[in-house]
Assembly symmetry: C2
Homo-oligomer: 427 residues x 2
C-alpha cells in the first residue's frame, strides 16, 4: 500500500530576531510595519516536527498539536494557510494532468515541538513553518514555487514563521503591496557563512504573564508616538547596517545593533498607553552584566563579545562567538545559580554530564574575564532567578524527514491518527 | 546693630515635572533640549531654607549645606550663581548711589532641607531656588528684576531649580538664544487656580544607585534616536495640551498626558546606549495598579482619578484630586504594607496619629474602589517594598521668612557661622 500513501514529515527551526518585528500594517494578512531580521537556531536542539498526509478517504481536514486536536476554524489562520497552499497545488495539477488530485483530498496533520513550554519560546513560528513546509513537501510545490513564495503562506499563520522557512540569517521584508505579495522572507546569509555564532537562551522566572504580543503590538501602533520614528528611520538604517555586519562576520557591530534594537523595541512598548513591560529586574540585571562584560573587553582594547536580545517576554537570548561560550556560560551560572543547563556542546567537559540538571552550588567567575570587569556590577541572584539555560547555535532551514514512504518515521499511524495522543499531558 | 545686619532667610519648594526635562543643548549654561512643566509642592511639607548675609567684614564667600561647609569652586555652579546675582545687584547700585555696596561685600550662606534624604527627592532644585531667592531678597533685586529673570540664575545652578522659583504650575521654556537669555520659567497657573491637586510620594526601596541624571541625560542625547522625536514633536504638543488641561482643571486629561510623558521619558532612557533604567519591578507594579484603578473608573463611566510620574529614580509621585486621597492612600497601603506614613491631611482620622510610623499590619482595600477593579492585578508586596509615603499638595512659590532683622529666625549666628553644624550627622 506504500504507493498509495501521500505523506510528508518535516522539521522546522525556531528563529530569534535581532531587528524586531513589532506592529502590523494589515492584521488580516499579517503585514508588518517594518522589516525584521533573525537568526535561525539549530533544529538539532529546538524544532517543530509535522507530518501531513493526504488521502481520498479522509473526510475534511484534521490537525493535532502536541497530541491534542485543534479545531480548524473557518476563516482562522490554520484554514487560511491550508487553503492558500491547496490553491498552489491546484495550479500544478491544472498544468499537469498526470499529477494525483491531492488538492481535492482531505488532510491529516500532526505537529509536535521538541522543546518544553518551560523554555518560554514562542512555538508558533517553528510550528507554522513546519506546517507550511510539510504541506508544500506533500504537494511537491518546490521548485515550481520558490521558498520565498512559501514564506508568504507561513507569514499568514504567524508573522515571524516566515523567517523559520530558511536557515542562517533571514530578513523579512515588510513590502508595500496591499495584498502582501511582496512581504516575503529572504536569506541574508546561510548558516555556513558564520557557523561559529552561538546563542545562550536564559529562561527567566516571572510571576505574571505579559501582554500577548498580538494585542500588544497593535496597542503600540495605536498609541506610541515613538514607534513611528522607529518605523520611519531607526529600522531601515539598522537593517542595512546589520546585514553588512553579518556579511563581514563583524560580531562587534552585530552585537551593538542587536542590543540597541532590542532596547529600541522595548522602549516603544514602554511608550505604549497603557505601557507594556516584558523585561523584569532579572532581565535588566542580565543586560547590565552583558554591558559590563563588553565594557571591560573594550577597555582592554578588545571588542564586544556578547549581545543580548529580548522578545515579548523576560527571557534573554545571548548571542556570542563559539570561542567565548565557556566564559559567558560560567559567568551567567555564577550570577544566576542552579539553572538547569543542557550542556549541548560539552562546554563543562567530562566533569559534568551532558545534560546537567538541578543544584550545582556556587560557580566561580571565569579567570578569562577581562581584567577591568567589575564583579560587583550585579548581585549573585537567588537560585532559580534564571531557571534554565539552553545553549545552541545558528542552524539550517526546514528539513524533510520522510516523504511518501510508509510513514513509519512520521507522527501519524496507518489510519491517519496521531501515534502519540495527548503527548503533552502524558509527559 | 540690627540696622547694620544685611541678611535674608527664605524657603523654596520642591517641584515635580509632569512634562519631563531630559537633555541639555548647552551643558555649561544648562539649556534644555525641550520645554518642561512642573507642579510646585507645598513648602509646609517639603522645602529648602536658606539664609544669606552680606557684611563688609567677611573675607570672601562661604556656604554651608545641611551643616557641612561646601567649597565654592572656581567656575563651579555655586560660584556662577553668586557671581551672576552679584552683577545684578551691582547694576542697581550703579543706578542708585544711596544703596549700600552689598555687591562688594563677602557672603555667608547657610542652607538646609527639611526633608530626609530617605525621601529620595532631588534637593538640588529647591536648594538652588532657595539660594537664588535668598540672595535676590538680600540684594533687593525685585521688582527691578522680574521673577522670571531670576529663574535664569537658578537654572544655571540646577536646571529644574528655575521651576522652584514659582508656585502652582510652572513651565520652563527651552528658549533658542545661544546665551540662554530666553530659557526662563513662567507661571502657567497659580496654586489658587487648582488647590485640590494633591500628590502622594511613594518612596520605593532600591538596592542599587541609578545613573546620575546629569551624566545620563547627555548619554541619551548622544545615543538615543527616539529622543529626537520626543524633542521634535512629542513634547511641544504635550506642553500645549497639558497647559490647556490645567487651565480647565481637567484632571482626566492632565493624568493621561502626565503618565504618557513619564513613560515617554523613560522610554528614551531605555533607548540609550547602554540603556538606563530608573524604574524597578516595584515601580512597574505601582504603574499597573494605577492603570487598573483608572481602567475600572473609566469602565464605570467615570474618568481617570490618579496619575503616576517617575523622575530619575524608582519613586512614584501619584497626583490626584483631594476627593480621592483616602481611596488612593488606602489602596497603596494595602498592596505595599508597613510604609512609614505622614498623615499630613489626617486622612486616616483620629484612629491613627498624625504622623504614623512603622508596622500597621494589613490594610483592607477601600470599598470606594470602582466595582470593576481587579484586586489581583498585582500581588500584596513584602513590607517595605514602599518604605515611606509622603502626602502633599500643590503649593506656592518661595517665601521670605526674615529680611534684614537681627537674624534670630535665620540659620546663621551673630558671627555669620551656622547655628546648626553637621545637622545631618547629628540627627
Amino acid at each position: 500500500m506504500a504507493a498509495s500513501v501521500y505523506q510528508a514529515t518535516v522539521s522546522a527551526p525556531v528563529n530569534i530576531a535581532v531587528i524586531k518585528y513589532w506592529g502590523k500594517r494589515n492584521t488580516e494578512l499579517i503585514l508588518p510595519t517594518n522589516d525584521s531580521l533573525s537568526v535561525t537556531l539549530d533544529q538539532d536542539h529546538l524544532m517543530s516536527k509535522t507530518t501531513s498526509r493526504a488521502d481520498p478517504s479522509f473526510q475534511g481536514d484534521r490537525l493535532w498539536l502536541n497530541g491534542e486536536e485543534e479545531l480548524i476554524k473557518k476563516g482562522g489562520r490554520l484554514e487560511r494557510c491550508i487553503t492558500e497552499i491547496r490553491a498552489m497545488r491546484k495550479q500544478l495539477e491544472d498544468q499537469d494532468s498526470s499529477l494525483p488530485n491531492l488538492s481535492t483530498w482531505g488532510l491529516r496533520i500532526c505537529s509536535e515541538n521538541n522543546f518544553p513550554t518551560a523554555a518560554g519560546l514562542a512555538s508558533s513560528a517553528s510550528g507554522f513553518a513546519a506546517l507550511t513546509f510539510s504541506l508544500s513537501t506533500l504537494f511537491a510545490l518546490e521548485p515550481a514555487f520558490t521558498r520565498s513564495q512559501l514564506t508568504r503562506i507561513a507569514r499568514q499563520g504567524s508573522g515571524s514563521a516566515c523567517r523559520s522557512l530558511m536557515g542562517g540569517f533571514v530578513a523579512w521584508q515588510s513590502g508595500s503591496a496591499e495584498d502582501g505579495s511582496d512581504s516575503l522572507a529572504l536569506e541574508v546569509a546561510p548558516r555556513e557563512h558564520w557557523p561559529e555564532l552561538q546563542a545562550l537562551i536564559c529562561v527567566v522566572s516571572d510571576a505574571k504573564k505579559g501582554t500577548p504580543s498580538t494585542a500588544g503590538m497593535q496597542r503600540t501602533v495605536a498609541t506610541s508616538p515613538l514607534l513611528q520614528e522607529r518605523i520611519r528611520s531607526v529600522v531601515p538604517k539598522r537593517m542595512e547596517d546589520i546585514s553588512a555586519a553579518i556579511q563581514a562576520r563583524d560580531f562587534d557591530k552585530f552585537a551593538e545593533i542587536t542590543m540597541a534594537d532590542s532596547n529600541n523595541f522595548h522602549a516603544t512598548c514602554l511608550d505604549t498607553q497603557p505601557p507594556i513591560f516584558y523585561m523584569n529586574d532579572t532581565s535588566r540585571n542580565i543586560i547590565q552584566l552583558v554591558e559590563e562584560i563588553n565594557r571591560a573587553s573594550l577597555e582592554a582594547g578588545g571588542k564586544r563579545i556578547i549581545a543580548y536580545t529580548y522578545d515579548a517576554g523576560p527571557n534573554a537570548v545571548l548571542y556570542h562567538d563559539k570561542q567565548h561560550s565557556e566564559l559567558i556560560i560560567q559567568t551567567i551560572r555564577h550570577y544566576f545559580p542552579n539553572a538547569d543547563f543542557d550542556d549541548t556542546f560539552n562546554i563543562l567537559g567530562a566533569g559534568i554530564s551532558a545534560s546537567h540538571r538541578g543544584p550545582q552550588g556556587p560557580v566561580a567567575l571565569p579567570a578569562s574575564l577581562p581584567k577591568a570587569f567589575n564583579g560587583a556590577i550585579i548581585p549573585v541572584h537567588e537560585p532559580g532567578a534564571v531557571g534554565r539555560l539552553l545553549h545552541t547555535q545558528v542552524g539550517d532551514g526546514p528539513r524533510v524527514i520522510e516523504h511518501r514512504d510508509n510513514g513509519m518515521t512520521g507522527l501519524l499511524d496507518e489510519q491517519g491518527e496521531p501515534i502519540r495522543l495527548m503527548r503533552t499531558k502524558k509527559e
